[in-house]
Symmetry: C2
Subunit: 84 residues, 2 copies
């Protein structure tokens, strides 16, 4: 029997342009408060690293994003297959 | 006078191996609850997108990470310069 093989997938979730990012603004103000100049904008997103069975289909991964990992009303997501 | 030019930087912040990730485990259980098979592990990190003046030094960016953007006791960070 073939030993189960896994693949590493990264999901990059970020707020859609135009969506207010209070967390990003708080970090922006904190950076300026620490004296860092030249910071024009800060946006905070999520980086989800998945170890999946290597026979998991692209459709299943997209479905995971649509149903749970990203709030597609206000967020975009990008699926990245990490070289083993 | 030269118009201020900005560059896009992405900071990938992830928990160090071995550090417990309760958020990742919650998502893992939720995926299984939705019927997705073959999920071996889930780790959640942060994706911070910065628009910085293009004369910001690498040292200054690293200092932003060390002082604010990452908790270096339990997190690793990777700085990515995004092509304009």
């Amino acid at each position: 029997m073939r030993k189960a093989a896994f693949m590493k997938i990264r999901i990059h979730v970020s707020l859609k342009p135009g969506v207010l990012d209070p967390q990003g603004r708080a970090v922006h103000h904190a950076l300026e408060g620490l004296g860092f100049a030249g910071v024009d904008d800060v946006r905070i997103g999520r980086l989800i690293e998945l170890e999946l069975a290597d026979n998991t289909s692209d459709d299943a991964i997209a479905e995971m994003c649509e149903k749970l990992l990203a709030n597609t009303v206000i967020e975009n997501y990008r699926i990245e297959k990490v070289a083993a």
